[in-house]
C-alpha cells in the first residue's frame, strides 16, 4: 500500500492555504451564482455606482461652474431714462478700464437683453409705443482673481461718481445657495455610498453566518483533522468572492445602463450647468472600481466573520 510522501515543503504549505482550490470537489457546497447573494450584491453595487456617479457629476458641476464664474462681476445700471442709462454705461466702461484687477469687460448688447426677458415679457419691449419697460443695462466684468467682497466694493466705489445707478454683484454670490444645495447633495451621495457599503457588509455577514451554521459539521471535521482557521475561512471567502464578483459585474452593468440613459436625458436639456456635470474618464474608472471594491469588502467581511466564529471552537 503506497503512502503519501511525508516531506514538508513550502509549496505544500502554500497548497494547504488553498484548501480544495483546483479540485472538482468542494468542502462546502457552493451555489456559484445561485441563491439570493449574488443578486443582493448586484443591487448594492448598482445603487452604489449610481450614487457615486451622482456625487461625481455634482462635483464636476460645482467645479466647472465655480471656475467659470469665480471672477465674474455683473454691473447693472438701473437708470430708467434710456439716454442717461446709455451715458452712464459708457462712463462706467471707461471707469472700469482703469480699475486694477479687471481682466475684461463687455456691455451686453440690447438684443441679448431682449432675448433674456423675451420668454416672460415678449419681444420689442424697448420700442413698443407707450409700453417701454426700463430694462437695466448690463456690463459683464471678468476679474483676474476671484470676486471677493473687497474687490466688488472697490468697483462699486469707482463707479459711484460716474454711474450713480450702478449696482455691482459678484456672480458667485447669486449662485451660492445653489452651490450649497449641490454640496449638500454631494454629501448625501457620499453618505449613501457609505451606507450601501455597510449594508453590503451586513448582508455578507449574515450569509457567512448562515453558511457557517449549515456547514458546522463539516467545519468541525476539518478542524479535528488539523485544518486551520485560515484554511476554513478561505473556503468561505472564495465562495463569497465568486458570488460578489458575479453580482458586482451584473450590478455595474445595470448602473452603467442607468447612468448612460440619465446622461443622455440631461444632455438633451442643453443647460450649461447640467452639461458641465458630465463624467470624465477618471470618474468612469472610479465607477469600474465599485464591483472590485465590493468584492474585496465582501471577501474581507466573510473572512472576519468566519475567523471570529471559529475562534469560539477549540
Amino acid at each position: 500500500m503506497s503512502m503519501p510522501p511525508t516531506k514538508s515543503s513550502r509549496r505544500r504549505r502554500a497548497r494547504a492555504r488553498r484548501l480544495f482550490a483546483g479540485t472538482d470537489a468542494e468542502l462546502v457546497p457552493q451555489g456559484h451564482m445561485s441563491g439570493p447573494m449574488p443578486w443582493v450584491i448586484a443591487i448594492m453595487v448598482a445603487l452604489t455606482a449610481i450614487a457615486l456617479a451622482t456625487g461625481l457629476a455634482l462635483g464636476n458641476t460645482v467645479t466647472a461652474v465655480t471656475a467659470e464664474i469665480e471672477g465674474g462681476v455683473t454691473v447693472q445700471l438701473v437708470e430708467p431714462r434710456p439716454d442717461v442709462r446709455q451715458q452712464e454705461a459708457a462712463r462706467a466702461l471707461d471707469a472700469l478700464r482703469i480699475v486694477p484687477g479687471v481682466a475684461s469687460m463687455r456691455l451686453v448688447p440690447q438684443e441679448e437683453l431682449d432675448a433674456l426677458v423675451a420668454p416672460w415679457l415678449g419681444g420689442g419691449i424697448e420700442t413698443a409705443a407707450g409700453a417701454g419697460i426700463p430694462v437695466p443695462a448690463l456690463i459683464d466684468v471678468r476679474l483676474q482673481h476671484a470676486a471677493t467682497q473687497d474687490r466688488v466694493a472697490a468697483i462699486q466705489r469707482s463707479l459711484a461718481r460716474v454711474a450713480p445707478s450702478a449696482r455691482v454683484d459678484a456672480q458667485s454670490a447669486w449662485l451660492k445657495p445653489v452651490f450649497d444645495a449641490i454640496v449638500s447633495l454631494q454629501w448625501l451621495a457620499i453618505a449613501l455610498v457609505a451606507l450601501l457599503a455597510a449594508a453590503l457588509a451586513a448582508a455578507v455577514l449574515l450569509a457567512a453566518r448562515s453558511a457557517l451554521g449549515t456547514n458546522h459539521e463539516t467545519i468541525e471535521i476539518v478542524h479535528l483533522l488539523g485544518g486551520t482557521d485560515a484554511q476554513i475561512a478561505r473556503v468561505f471567502q472564495r465562495a463569497i468572492g465568486f458570488d460578489a464578483a458575479g453580482g458586482g459585474a451584473i450590478g455595474l452593468a445595470l448602473a452603467l445602463a442607468v447612468i448612460l440613459s440619465l446622461g443622455r436625458r440631461f444632455s438633451g436639456l442643453g443647460a450649461g450647468m447640467v452639461s458641465s456635470g458630465a463624467l470624465i474618464w477618471t470618474d468612469w474608472l472610479l465607477l469600474a472600481l465599485v464591483p472590485l471594491l465590493a468584492t474585496g469588502l465582501a471577501m474581507m467581511t466573510a473572512r472576519l466573520t468566519v475567523m471570529h466564529a471559529l475562534r469560539k471552537m477549540l
Binding site: M1, S2, M3, P4, P5, T6, R11, R12, R13, A14, R15, A16, R17, L19, F20, G22, T23, A25, E26, L27, P29, E217, T218, E220, I221, V222, H223, L224, L225, G226, G227, T228, D229, Q231, R311, L314
Partner: protein
Amino acid sequence: MSSRPDGEIIHFDNVGLRYDHDREVLSDLSFTLFPGTFYFLTGASGAGKTSLLRLLYLAQRPSRGVIRMFGKDAITMPRSGLPALRRRIGVVFQDFRLVPHLSAFDNVALPLRVAGFAEREIAGPVGDILEWVGLADRRAARPATLSGGEQQRIAIARAVIGRPDMLVADEPTGNVDPDMAVKLLRLFELLNRQGTTVVVATHDVHLLRKVPESLIMRLDRGRLSDPTGALRYPPRRPA
C-alpha cells in the same frame, strides 16, 4: 509489535473533565502513552471512553490537570498551535463523521488536502487504501449511499491515510462483520508496527485477545484503573 522506543507521546497528569457545572465525567487521570504501543480503552457504557478520546484528539480541553502531547503542553498552547498537533493524530469517530456531500475518495483524501499535498500525490495512496478496505469500486459514492460498514471503513481509511503518529479509534469495528473487523485490526497492527501509537476504544472483549501484546486501559466511572502499573511504567520489551 515492535520494541517500545523511549520517551512519551502523550502524558496525562491528574486530569479531570466536567461539562458545565455537572459532576466530573473524568477524574484524576494520570497516565503516559508511549510511541509504537497498542492500547485498548475499555469500560462500560458511560464510563467516559468517548470523553477521554475527545481529550486525546484535542476536541476538548480538560477542566483541570496537565496534558502533554508530542512533548508540548497542550493546555497552555495557543489555539494556533493545535492544528499541527491534530495533524499527527488520526481519528475514527464512533459516528464516522464523513462529509456528506463529498465522495468516498474525497473524504479519504481530506486529511492530505488539509496538509497541503498536491492532487498527484493524493490519488495513488487514496486509491490504494480504498482498495485495501475493499471499497475501490465505491470511490465516487457519497456516504449516504454506503452501508454502515462501508462508511466505517471509509472513516478508518481517512484516519490512517496521513500516517499519523497516533491513531485514536472509537469502536472502530462496531459496524463491520467479524472478518472485516479482523482485517481492520490487522491494518491497525500494521500501522502500529510502523511506529504509530494506536488507541482503540471498545467494549468487545474478543477484540482484546486478537492483539495479545496490547495494553489495556480500563475506565470505570471516569477513573482509570491501572492495577499493574503497566500504563505508568510499561515494561521494556526486547526488539
